[in-house]
């Protein structure tokens, strides 16, 4: 997926880290931006979060040892910064976020609106994602980015069976939400 040479094992010199960062930003910049959107609804805070992800990514490459794929590394860094952001923003209200299991039984918060246009569909999708606990958020974002179950497991640390169960739940929830939107429109 990337043209970056990751054969070197061990600490990466700063200049190489700069190059790796630039390549990573070129290849995954859009995905990182979408990811930041899923972790922060406020535009100003989201810009800060995105920059924080970029800084964390640049720094992380100095310790990149090639033991996992570059894509896995990038997504781990981005998701872990996102999770830190969630913890910081909701230090005491972490329990207000729900898991995929509970989400299946929750009503659509935007059920009063028609879901005719793509923009609104995206808003509904974002509102759904932003209600999820960090680990479930990692899984649904990875799924939406089109990553396969093995990659999701490597990034999140969940077992393959657990990932498969979660992706099945995600598909069910998304199908229900999208069907609701289509019926209303």
């Amino acid at each position: 997926m990337s043209a970056i040479d990751v054969s070197t094992v061990g600490a990466i010199p700063r200049s190489s880290a700069d190059e790796m960062y630039q390549e990573a930003a070129d290849t995954y910049g859009a995905a990182l931006e979408r990811l930041a959107r899923a972790y922060e609804a406020d535009a100003d805070l989201r810009r800060d979060l995105l920059q924080e992800i970029h800084v964390a990514l640049w720094r992380s490459f100095q310790g990149f040892d090639g033991r996992c794929s570059l894509r896995t590394w990038i997504y781990r860094v981005a998701h872990n910064v996102g999770a830190s952001h969630v913890i910081r923003q909701r230090r005491t209200q972490l329990q207000t976020l729900v898991g995929l299991e509970e989400l299946e039984n929750l009503p659509d918060m935007n059920s009063g609106h028609a879901a005719a246009d793509r923009g609104h569909t995206l808003d509904r999708l974002l509102s759904l994602i932003q209600r999820l606990k960090p680990i479930d958020r990692h899984v649904i974002l990875s799924y939406l980015e089109g990553l396969d179950a093995a990659s999701v497991g490597e990034i999140t640390g969940l077992s393959p069976a657990n990932v498969a169960t979660k992706i099945h739940r995600i598909k069910t929830v998304l199908a229900r939400w999208f069907q609701q939107g289509e019926v209303r429109s």
């Binding site: 995206l122 960090p134 680990i135 969940l158």
Partner: protein, 193 residues
Amino acid sequence: MKETLDNSQQVWQSQPVEGTKMSAEAIRLRAGKFERRIARRNLRESIIALGVIALFCYYLATSGEWIYRVTWGLFILGMAWTVINLHRKGSPRSMHSDLGSASCLEFFCAELERQRDLIENVWPWHLGPLLPGYLALNVAYVIGPHRLALWVGLAFLNAVFVASFVVIWKVNQKAARCLQRSIDELRARETSS
């Protein structure tokens, strides 16, 4: 069904993005700003404690009796210990260097465990360091001139002190239990196959 699922991925991946890019130089500048912002935030968080330390320093400087000097000195040391530990253990570590080597589950569990450990054991770093000063203050009252007003004041102070300690301890215990539930839930996911 298939079409609906593809739709969600398509909607997600085709959303407009600003194409934010940062040069290596801009990243370095941003990293420096970020560190300064964390330092300022830490300073803000400890500003009350620093104010109290300043007040104790004033008492220490103006107090005539040795026992009160000892008392304020112990309070200053206790507060300083608390502030140092609050920064060392309590500040959210926004800029880990190992963000890519830990899976999301490991990272999230470690963050929650760190916070749990911090609030579960408030005695060694938060409440305990204030006890020597508090005991010295009691001694100062006991060996000082015995007046009824002083004893009433001491009894009131003790009641407030003990009540504050118990409330802080209980609130932290409750928060630690909440965090533990989240950690247990995550660990269960990690081990479930």
